[in-house]
Symmetry: C2
Subunit: 406 residues, 2 copies
């Protein structure tokens, strides 16, 4: 029986993530620079084993039971303290625990976006956010980045135009530190200017912050939420990069007035986040496991970033450019206009045995055909070098031969 | 700053669950017959502790890592086998793992429901389904139940009328075994008739099945999915009642054609279900922990049901009726028309120290003011008796005094 005829028209707005599709290639002879997948050697497995053993012997009747939709109270308190150490003033009431930050994005989109509302995003931006927002049909407008992050001057021009056109600007979605997919951080001056614009043009700021906990050089810039005086910044983060993604625990920090709606929305989506995972994060925070992770993560990913940048310097042909991230997991690659990195992906996987994510996926208003995201988080250093060598061959060969000829 | 003005118009469709609100009263001097919360003494804590220890020592790099959106392959295979033992023919490709069955309901609503589509439901039905569906704005039409479950003859009449009115009937949502909130099971003849009607009127059947694993008396009736010959039954279930709700693992069984869309939708909602929780369920299935649970659960909940039915017989005044469930966690109570169980709830909590869920929450087309759901799953036997005694006092006192007088 043909079942497609039962599908909602909404399904036409859904697109499968190329990153997730790419995951299927990992572990074969393809080296993947695809997903932002943590290095499994970074997992504090022994600590977590001990934590789980303690939880299951001392509090199984709580850790295996239903928990409140907003999250386990003790964890919300611990997260508020954790946020406090990053300059964010929050009480447990300002924290809601989510099933990874993907669910946080879904919930925010659900409670905020009406069809046609303008949401600004960095261009390129995190594709999980594009996916979460898309089905609610906002107008997603992109703001380009340079070496200091989002061009807030360009944003201002676009805000003026939007106002003149009578559009409703609801929010901006921004990853200010070690941005996904470019690795770039927003400068201090621009952070301030962005918040001024939010006041002036009266919109919300959704700050996604998975990576700022392990910036490689210098101090981590202050989160926008720590500079927020009017309550219009909604902060979200996750345990995926600082502890383990398999737990699926993220959190939102915002005003209670908004979180009330988030909680009501979450009842209908997942009811609550895994209680067991919440207790793992709770104990990992309490016992200092997360804090001890941070210097380790900095070391692991710095050496991998260095390996990728060195290999790029060594192998890439003229005309190819890339970012030099100060943290996070990604380098953003730009090849000559003549090449289409989406069109080249199949050949990359089949012949050159290397995976990346084509840049178009990260763009909200088209474009980016000659860009790609390269992640250095998962493969060992030697594999990163080899992957860049392969990718450079693909690009060199393709620049020499007209595309489609092979 | 007033933030409400940023909310989407969709938020007006969201309603906080009274069951979740009630959870806040548990553990004080109120005895709760509210949520369908498993008895924590039923959790196989020692087995799960051992499983977690084994997983974290043997495969931490996988169990703490990202996993495919559709679920861990080994778990999908194990679930297909588990389903096979219940007469459902499925391969791993027919299984998608979800963040509890709440997410399964959200995903199905998302991929199936266009505004105005007709979805039939038992009336009363599971309120989590009402919540999940509501924001997609279907016409939810109710079908009453009698002692043999949903009145399929009434359904047929409504289908005819819907067809005459040119309405699009997309699906029926049904909990055929030990229904929530009534505890009633659909008879064998009606199961067959329901599937015939699905063919004749061309709609999907969403079968929610959390409770059939531990029916107290006799054999568990065959799942509708086991009788499905055309692929139009979508089956969903959960580890919440047979293992532990804190894991937040559910699963869907359906045709791949539909599951493809479910997976794309899930990428945007939670990306994937907790890998750690998936490995716990995987090992609990492999080691027979789940199978060993079932007779234990049957015993625990049968004695609690018996205690509740006995106390109802003993304490309830004339004019009060209730169901006699053959399994599951709920008794459905009907009091004389003059009483409004929603209006009485506050008094019940404050003065009589007993919690229940007012029946209106489970109704899709209004009504049910004189009904309530009573859960016997959580409190100890003695507390169940006491709670029913208190509830009976509330009802007797209220029948004597005009409402609102105290």
């Amino acid at each position: 029986m043909e079942l497609r005829r039962f599908l909602s028209s909404r399904t036409a707005l859904m697109r499968a993530s190329q990153v997730r599709e790419l995951l299927k290639w990992i572990g074969r002879d393809v080296i993947s620079l695809g997903g932002g997948i943590p290095d499994p050697s970074s997992f504090p497995a022994r600590d977590l084993r001990e934590i789980l053993d303690d939880i299951l012997s001392s509090r199984p009747e709580v850790a295996l039971q239903y928990a409140p939709t907003e999250g386990v109270d003790e964890l919300r308190e611990e997260l508020a303290r954790f946020m406090g150490r990053r300059g964010i003033k929050a009480s447990a009431d300002n924290v809601v625990v989510t099933a990874g930050s993907q669910e946080a994005l879904e919930l925010l989109a659900r409670i905020l976006i009406d069809k046609g509302d303008v949401v600004f995003m960095e261009n390129p931006t995190y594709l999980g956010a594009i996916q979460a927002f898309r089905i609610y049909e906002p107008r997603m407008l992109g703001v380009p980045l340079d070496g200091e992050g989002m061009r807030v001057d360009v944003l201002e021009g676009k805000l003026k135009r939007a106002r003149a056109q009578g559009l409703r600007v609801k929010a901006i979605y921004v990853i200010p530190t070690c941005q996904n997919p470019t690795g770039i951080s927003l400068s201090g001056d621009r952070r301030k200017r962005l918040l001024e614009l939010a006041e002036e043009y009266d919109f919300l700021v959704v700050e996604d912050d998975p990576y700022s906990y392990f910036v490689f050089e210098g101090a981590s810039p202050p989160p926008l939420k720590s500079l927020d005086t009017s309550g219009r910044v909604i902060y979200l983060s996750t345990a995926s990069k600082v502890l383990a993604p398999g737990l699926r625990v993220g959190w939102l920090v915002a005003e209670e007035e908004l979180l009330d709606k988030v909680v009501t929305a979450k009842q209908a989506v997942t009811l609550q986040t895994s209680t067991l995972s919440q207790f793992v994060l709770l104990e990992a925070l309490r016992r200092g496991v997360v804090e001890r992770q941070l210097p380790r993560l900095r070391k692991i990913y710095r050496s991998k970033r260095d390996a990728m940048l060195e290999a790029l310097d060594e192998y890439m042909p003229d005309g190819v450019k890339w970012t030099r991230p100060s943290g996070g997991m990604f380098v953003w690659l730009e090849v000559p206009e003549a090449l289409d990195m989406s069109a080249l992906l199949y050949r990359a996987l089949r012949r050159y045995k290397v995976a990346y994510v084509p840049g178009t996926a990260f763009h909200v208003e088209g474009g980016g055909h000659n860009t790609a995201r390269l992640s250095y988080s998962y493969p060992p250093v030697e594999a990163i070098r080899e992957a860049i060598r392969r990718l450079a061959s693909l690009i060199s060969d393709s620049l020499r031969a007209p595309q489609g000829a092979s």
